[in-house]
């Protein structure tokens, strides 16, 4: 009797425990914060960035998530500027308490957000190309820097177009000035000459006087580096309206924006780490998945949005390698992992930056980009020599 009773007690206890374990709530989702310019200068490209993040999260969740936990996206508007970024980062880090920040932003927003990232001790994967030399133990970058992007265009103009005099136009902020400073140095290094360097504030939309100066200086080639989105468009439109037909290298345009510009964009040269025409199985699978998920709402994947997709996967890999979302371990793991994505194999192994395959392309009449040349594994150079890892 006692044995049956103790056995049944044991069995009941065992049953209860299994039931309880089964009924225990699923593990908390891992939150990915995406502060991005839903309004302001970046509002043109922000939707494509959000779509990439959404696809990556959906794909990963469908396969079981990361370490058994689902991923959740928290998007916040940084208004493409420093003040808005502060609010967005504060909200994501301290209110929504995200585990990681993965996004593309203007340099102003990134610079304003970094102190908050440092205070909150949250890893931040920056997926936008930028002017380089932004360094923090918490920051990783999987997009290009000037050392990777500028030489292909300048070399091409100098050699194929026989350009000796260059005119530079940009938006007056960190990216614009940084890119053009590097360009000027590189032009002079290869023996060319910069005959003009003009800037307009980020919110400026009237390029008339600068275009007049351009025409007066009669250069052989034009290289521009404006803030993404609206300034790019207004400059190109006004250039075309003024009849400027020089070889035109745009350091800040992406395929989506180029498509939106219509015929005005035809002939623009760009140098990017991603174009939709990349002929690889990974890219084709990616494009098909995007098309399936978003249908007619799809925004053209571009050099600002695809790194976002790959970054989510990079974070997944780092968390799996670190065995959890602990910031210190994840940050260490981010330097060691690599992902295979539409852009090929990406590893943020060089001082928190990544060697990338770059493509020199020209925008066609239909808005697509034709690849003229490609360069494999271009090194980002010494971006953060003081970071110890």
């Amino acid at each position: 009797m006692t044995l049956t009773r103790s056995l049944s007690t044991l069995l009941t206890a065992a049953a209860c425990t299994t039931l309880l374990a089964g009924a225990a709530p699923a593990a908390d989702p891992i939150k990915i914060g995406v502060p991005v310019g839903l309004s302001g200068a970046n509002s043109v490209v922000a939707p494509s960035v959000v779509q990439s993040a959404q696809l990556a999260v959906d794909e990963i969740n469908a396969k079981g998530g990361v370490l058994g936990r689902q991923l959740a996206l928290e998007v916040a508007d940084d208004a493409s500027g420093a003040a808005g970024a502060q609010k967005a980062f504060d909200s994501l880090v301290f209110q929504k308490k995200v585990d990681v920040l993965i996004s593309m932003e203007t340099s102003a927003a990134r610079n304003a957000g970094l102190p908050i990232v440092t205070r909150g001790k949250v890893p931040y994967i920056y997926t936008s190309f930028y002017e380089g030399k932004s360094c923090s133990p918490f920051l990783y970058v999987n997009a290009w820097v000037p050392e990777q992007q500028v030489p292909p265009i300048v070399d091409y103009f100098a050699r194929e177009k026989k350009a000796a005099k260059f005119f530079l136009i940009g938006s007056d902020y960190a990216f614009g000035r940084g890119m053009l400073a590097f360009t000027k140095a590189y032009v002079e290094k290869i023996g060319g000459k910069v005959v003009g360097e003009e800037y307009l504030p980020m919110d400026g939309s009237d390029w008339t006087p600068i275009i007049s100066k351009l025409k007066a200086a009669a250069p052989d080639a034009l290289i521009t580096s404006t803030a993404g989105g609206a300034p790019n468009v207004t400059l190109t439109k006004q250039l075309r309206a003024a009849g400027v037909a020089l070889p035109y290298g745009n350091l800040a345009v992406d395929e989506g924006t180029a498509k939106g510009m219509g015929t005005d964009a035809e002939g623009i040269y760009l140098s990017a780490s991603y174009v939709t025409g990349i002929d690889s199985p990974a890219n084709k699978t990616f494009l098909a998945a995007m098309q399936k998920k978003f249908g007619t709402e799809l925004k053209t994947p571009n050099d600002l949005s695809v790194p976002e997709y790959e970054a989510v996967y990079a974070y997944k890999a780092a968390v799996e390698k670190a065995g959890g979302t602990d910031a210190t371990k994840v940050l260490k793991a981010l330097a060691e992992i690599s992902v295979e994505g539409p852009r090929g194999k990406i590893a943020m192994s060089k001082q928190h930056h990544a060697p990338l395959t770059m493509y020199l392309g020209q925008v066609q009449a239909d808005g697509g980009v034709k690849v003229i040349k490609s360069f494999a594994d271009v090194d980002p150079g010494a971006q953060c020599p003081n970071l110890k890892d």
Partner: protein, 614 residues
């Protein structure tokens, strides 16, 4: 006088010695707020504290907007520029020189100094005799735009479009930042409340209600406004300094036009002219937008926009004003809590040496005064003198130039040619407030008083030229010259000292204005059709007052009148103006029966009028 004063003081409501009585009314809410400020960090979470610290610094900037707009009537979009000056002074200082106590002090000094200089310059540009409130708003609009463009063009020194970030700042815990910011808001509120409730604060309300009347009471409104701008600019700069000291990011958006208009929206929604409304508006909007901007970004701004339009069009009092009215309607005691007018004022007479009965020095001299508008000549060659103890009526048909003559006597900038001397001094090109200082008082045709001020406050403002009003206290005693006091008591104003001027009848308003002008203790009194609209009894009372003033106080009164019977009754002398010239000038008896008057008034074809008799 001292006996009366101290007797009154002991009779008044109890208060701590040395502290102004107005403090008593807000002591309890202030203490409650202080408790919230000190204890807040223990109940609120980190994110909310973060938002609140920033919101509190913004609230200080909103307070400056309320003082300028709600209290003194200048709509300003430019306080954001001063906020930005403070913000960038700190950011630039710490970026260039690193962080340390003397760098912090240097940046603070720069913030205050630059803000004061810019505010002074902008004030000088906006407030000058003859400026309009619209122009002041225009300048306040241009200021942040100019500043932001300068920031954009500053390269790495100002961080251009990106702003400045990454500099080391004060190492204060979040909790203590909250206490600091909260304490700052509280201190600003209390100080503002005390000053604005004081007698000096009444002058601001007077300027908002009726700037011209202030000028004619001898108040240099331009100077007061400029001084106010400087103080408010410095306070806003200090708020910006604190804001960036906490947040560590200085961006052009902190100094721009959009932020400037947001401050106005906050004040409007919270309730302009109530001080606490500005703080409430700022806190509500900042906190709500931080929480809602991710979930309902577009809808939230739409709601704010609609609310703003509603408030401007139909609910000028904003949130706080509506609360005040609703609670006043519900319970009269609550109404008393919110009421602003002081409780009991008592009149006193100023000691003065009575003038000798036969003093009759010349106090008004006009010599060849002319006024042209292009080719149209309104006055030509008007010359006369007037003495103490004379009551001169200026008569003439419409268009003769009577009011223009009064204007030329009171405002040195009006006349085209000729000289005017008041009490022996030439008025040159002096503006009205300076002419008042020479001993002249002008009463307007339409009663020109301060609509939202109480009767007592109107009179007190009238005295502010002679007695510097206290910046801290609201005196319970109103001391007036005997003549002014006589008018106040005989007209019935003495029973209505707490009543707002806009609720007075027409006759009482006229009496109030007369009392205000007499409070200046003038030697020359210019009256423009003062009996228009008065009943017969009021007119008689008025006549009695005037004759008394002239006989006992030896005033010189120049009065424009149409009622020839009244003129005949009270005047000692008549000047007849016709088509801008003096047609007749002499004692009442001589003039009244002169056929010229009849002909001019009824109109007849006569060649040029005869020369004025001396």
């Amino acid at each position: 006088m001292p006996d009366l004063g101290s007797a009154l003081r002991s009779h008044a409501s109890p208060s701590l010695p040395g502290l102004p009585r107005s403090l008593g009314r807000i002591a309890i809410p202030a203490l409650l707020a202080a408790v919230l400020v000190v204890g807040g960090p223990w109940i609120l979470d980190t994110y909310t504290l973060n938002i609140l610290v920033r919101a509190l610094f913004v609230a200080i900037a909103a307070l400056t907007v309320d003082v300028l707009w709600g209290y003194s009537g200048t709509l300003t979009f430019g306080q954001s520029a001063f906020f930005g000056i403070g913000a960038y002074a700190l950011a630039i200082g710490f970026t260039q020189f690193g962080f340390g106590p003397w760098q912090a002090l240097l940046a603070l000094g720069a913030a205050v100094g630059i803000a004061a200089a810019v505010a002074g310059f902008v004030g000088w540009l906006s407030f000058y005799p003859g400026s309009t409130p619209l122009y002041a708003s225009v300048v306040s609009l241009v200021l942040p735009i100019v500043l932001v463009q300068l920031l954009y063009s500053g390269g790495t020194f100002t961080g251009s479009s990106s702003g400045l970030v990454g500099f080391e700042s004060f190492d204060v815990s979040l909790d203590n930042w909250f206490r600091l910011a909260g304490g700052a808001v509280l201190a600003t509120l209390v100080i503002a409340w005390i000053v604005l409730s004081s007698d000096a604060g009444r002058v601001l309300g007077a300027m908002r209600d009726n700037d011209e009347r202030c000028a004619y009471l001898g108040i240099d409104t331009a100077r007061v406004r400029i001084a106010l701008s400087v103080v408010m600019g410095v306070v806003a700069a200090l708020a910006g300094y604190g804001y960036v000291g906490f947040s560590g990011v200085a961006a052009p958006e902190n100094a721009g036009f959009v932020f400037g208009t947001q401050l106005v929206v906050m004040v409007a929604l919270g309730g302009r002219g109530s001080l606490i409304g500005a703080v409430i508006g700022a806190l509500v909007i900042e906190v709500a937008s931080a929480y809602l901007s991710s979930s309902l970004p577009f809808v939230w701004e739409l709601i704010v926009g609609v609310a703003f339009v509603l408030v401007i069009v139909v609910l000028p009092g904003g949130l706080f004003g509506s609360l005040r009215e609703a609670s006043a309607a519900m319970h009269p005691r609550l109404a008393a809590l919110f009421a602003r007018t002081a409780s009991s004022i008592s009149l006193a007479t100023l000691d003065r040496v009575a003038p000798t009965p036969d003093r009759n020095a010349v106090v008004v001299e006009a010599d060849g005064v002319s006024k042209h508008f292009g080719s149209l000549s309104v006055l030509s060659g008007v010359s006369f003198t007037a003495r103490q103890g004379e009551l001169v009526s200026i008569v003439g048909p419409n268009g003769a130039g009577k009011t223009t003559l009064i204007r030329c006597l009171a405002d040195g900038r009006e006349r085209s040619e000729g000289t005017v001397r008041v009490c022996g001094h030439s008025i040159g090109r002096l503006p009205p407030d300076r002419v008042v200082g020479l001993g002249l008082g002008r009463k307007f045709q339409a009663a020109s008083v301060f609509e939202t001020l109480s009767v007592a406050d109107c009179l007190r403002v009238a005295r502010s030229r002679s007695e510097r009003p206290s910046l801290v206290a609201a005196s319970p005693v109103l001391a007036l010259p005997a003549a002014a006091r006589a008018v106040v008591e005989s007209s019935g104003l003495a029973e209505r000292l707490d009543l707002q001027a806009r609720f007075l009848s027409h006759g009482l308003k006229q009496a109030l204005e007369l009392a205000m002008v007499l409070a200046l203790d003038p030697q020359v009194l210019l009256l423009d059709e003062p009996t228009a609209g008065l009943t017969r009894a009021e007119r008689q009372g008025f006549a009695a007052i005037l004759t008394d003033l002239v006989a006992r106080e030896r005033l010189c009164v120049l009065i424009i009148e149409h009622d020839l019977d009244f003129v005949r009754q009270i005047s000692s002398r008549i000047i007849l103006l016709h088509q801008g010239r003096v047609a007749l000038d002499g004692p009442v008896a001589d003039i009244v029966d002169d056929p010229l008057i009849r002909e001019i008034y009824t109109g007849s074809t006569r060649p040029k009028p005869a020369e004025a008799k001396p």
